[in-house]
């Protein structure tokens, strides 16, 4: 990667999209990204900064920025807002206790000018766990139905098994291409 590659990924290119992946700590952002790029997901540490991966989907290159979600570093999420084409917000569906906190962070993001109007995919992750909240219930708790200023989609998924990940990315590319 290196600093120069980061600069290259920051610039706008044809047939490329910059995807920002956010969500609370332990939501599974890095695991989703690694699973999508077919990497080993057995030893994943909390992200202290960020990871960047390039995924190719339907001839379209997605430069995906996965940003650490711990509370202390959430104020720095705005470092990465510039030139974002789509937002992926990841939720740990099994963590009912923190659903409210997650919803709060999401509503803050949706009010950000620099992210205004861009498509959003919500991954309702960890659906493989028994007590996971179903996607439609999460949608209700977060009040997603009320979002008028952008296209959005909620996708039930499991980063562990890979279920639902591909469907989410296909939706994302389809809306990113329209831009």
């Amino acid at each position: 990667m290196g600093l120069l590659s980061i600069l290259k990924k920051m610039k706008k290119e044809e047939r490329e999209a910059r995807i920002l992946v956010l969500g609370l700590d332990n939501a599974g952002k890095t695991t989703i990204l690694k699973k999508l790029s077919e990497e080993d997901i057995t030893h994943i540490m909390p992200t202290q900064g960020f990871n960047i991966k390039s995924l190719v989907q339907d001839g379209f290159k997605l430069n995906v920025w996965d940003i650490g979600g711990q509370k202390a570093i959430r104020p720095y999420w705005s470092n990465y807002f510039e030139n974002t084409d789509a937002l992926v917000y990841v939720i740990d569906s099994s963590d009912r206790r923190r659903l409210e906190e997650s919803g709060h962070e999401l509503s803050e993001l949706l009010n950000e000018d620099k992210l205004g109007g861009i498509p959003m995919l919500v991954y309702a992750n960890k659906q493989d766990l028994m007590h996971a909240t179903p996607a439609d219930e999460i949608s209700e708790v977060l009040g997603l139905q009320g979002i008028q200023d952008r296209v959005w989609q909620i996708q039930a998924c499991s980063a562990k098994t890979g279920d639902g990940l591909q469907e989410g990315m296909e939706w994302l590319v389809q809306v990113a291409k329209k831009d």
């Binding site: 990667m1 290196g2 600093l3 590659s5 920051m10 610039k11 900064g49 510039e82």
Partner: protein
């Protein structure tokens, strides 16, 4: 004209003469000893200097001899030099970007995604100052060496800031760029600072007033590299538009466009004399250019992937290229011949630097290690292990006895060698 005193410059070796004009003005000029080696015949050299330099008379020969021996001692290669981990600095809460020493090596600075630049004491590893004020990533940083009393920081928040290196006070905020600032440099005289941006322009600023002096416009893509020459009268910029440009500081005019690369420029540098410069490119080559006419003198091939960093040694007779192909290559600047290939890293090399005396090279890699290499044999002398994520930056201090490494793992590490002693004051020989 009357000679007042001598000053020694270790790297590249040279003797600076401070003299007084008839009208009382103090001026300096330097005798560059770029070809000095531990095998140089000192008596021949002394006679040559006395013969060619009217300021130095016969009776200065003993002083001259003493200084030359000191310079030779400084460039002597220490075979048994080994670096060990001295301190791990964990003050940043997000990945580091770049790091840099002041001239004496007593302090260094680190930039970070946490929007701060921190000033550190090299000897103790203590954090001296936090330069707080930027609203986004602090990406590019520099001391105004050799003075070391000011710092410039370039940020993704589109501004650069000038700081007092001793108090941490922000002296000026340099506003004018439209997008991220990704490279900064002081001229060696300390009067100007230059900033390069993703907005395709470079800008020149007055250090005292913080006012913009010139906007260097002409590149058609992001500027990612920028350097002053030693005289401080030219600036070199490297761009994602596949060209580099040489600009005149005085007028802000573009003197030459260095065109020929078939991919984005990744890195640029002037040699010490300012007669030549090099450009590294994504097209897998490095080119050597004549600064005076803008002509390409040599295209250095061999890498099998993108060239990510290029660097001259302090005297300018060697250059090194670092590549995404996990190797670095050392070239003889005069002949263009590849002298050695540095093989061993298991990830791309994003940063490379010569030790000040020119015998060693340090490389920083995405394989989470830095390596030290012998320039002439290409042998890997040491692997600096310990970072838990890729290393973005590394630097030697001027003495060559300390190395700092900055990583995506949010830490900076100080490595000292087995000869380490606290930095000496600059040598002066009073007349």
């Amino acid at each position: 004209m009357k000679l007042k005193r001598f000053l020694l410059r270790y790297y590249p070796p040279g003797i600076v003469l401070e003299y007084q004009r008839r009208n009382g003005d103090l001026e300096t000029k330097s005798i560059d000893l770029l070809n000095l080696t531990p095998e140089t015949d000192v008596e021949v050299l002394i006679n040559q200097i006395v013969f060619e330099e009217p300021l130095i008379s016969e009776n200065k020969k003993d002083t001259l001899r003493g200084m030359i021996y000191k310079l030779m001692e400084k460039i002597d290669n220490k075979d048994s030099q080994r670096f060990y981990l001295f301190k791990i600095l964990r003050a940043h809460i997000l990945p580091l970007t770049n790091c840099a020493f002041n001239k004496s090596g007593s302090k260094f600075i680190t930039g970070s995604y946490d929007r701060t630049c921190r000033v550190w004491d090299t000897l103790s590893g203590e954090e001296l100052l936090t330069l707080d004020g930027h609203k986004n990533v602090v990406y590019a940083i520099a001391f105004n060496n050799p003075f070391g009393d000011k710092i410039v920081t370039g940020s993704f928040d589109k501004t650069a800031r000038l700081w007092d290196a001793n108090t941490g006070q922000c002296l000026h905020t340099l506003k004018g760029h439209h997008t991220e600032i990704v490279c900064v440099a002081f001229n060696i005289q300390g009067t100007h600072v230059a900033t390069g941006s993703m907005d395709n322009t470079a800008k020149l600023w007055d250090v005292d007033t913080g006012q913009q002096i010139a906007s260097l416009e002409g590149h058609s893509a992001e500027i990612v590299s920028l350097n002053f020459n030693t005289d401080g009268d030219k600036i070199l910029t490297g761009s994602f538009d596949n060209t580099a440009k040489v600009w005149e500081v005085r007028s802000g005019q573009c003197l030459h466009t260095l065109a020929g690369h078939r991919g984005e420029i990744s890195s640029t540098q002037f040699d010490f004399t300012g007669d030549y410069c090099i450009t590294g490119s994504i097209d897998r080559t490095c080119k050597l250019w004549d600064v005076n006419n803008g002509q390409c003198m040599e295209t250095l091939r061999g890498h099998t992937d993108e060239v990510l960093d290029v660097c001259f040694n302090t005297t300018g007779n060697r250059l090194v290229t670092a590549s995404a192909d996990c190797t670095a290559r050392v070239y003889n600047v005069m002949t263009g011949a590849c002298i050695s290939i540095l093989i061993g890293h298991e990830g791309e090399i994003s940063k490379v630097q010569f030790s000040p005396n020119g015998y060693k090279i340090i490389t920083a890699s995405s394989d989470r290690t830095c390596r030290l290499w012998s320039v002439e044999t290409g042998e890997c002398l040491q692997v600096l292990e310990g970072h838990s994520d890729e290393i973005f930056s590394c630097a030697f201090n001027y003495e060559g006895d300390t190395v700092i490494t900055g990583s995506k793992d949010n830490t900076c590490r100080i490595w000292k060698d087995n000869f380490f002693t606290p930095a000496e004051e600059e040598d002066q020989y009073e007349d």
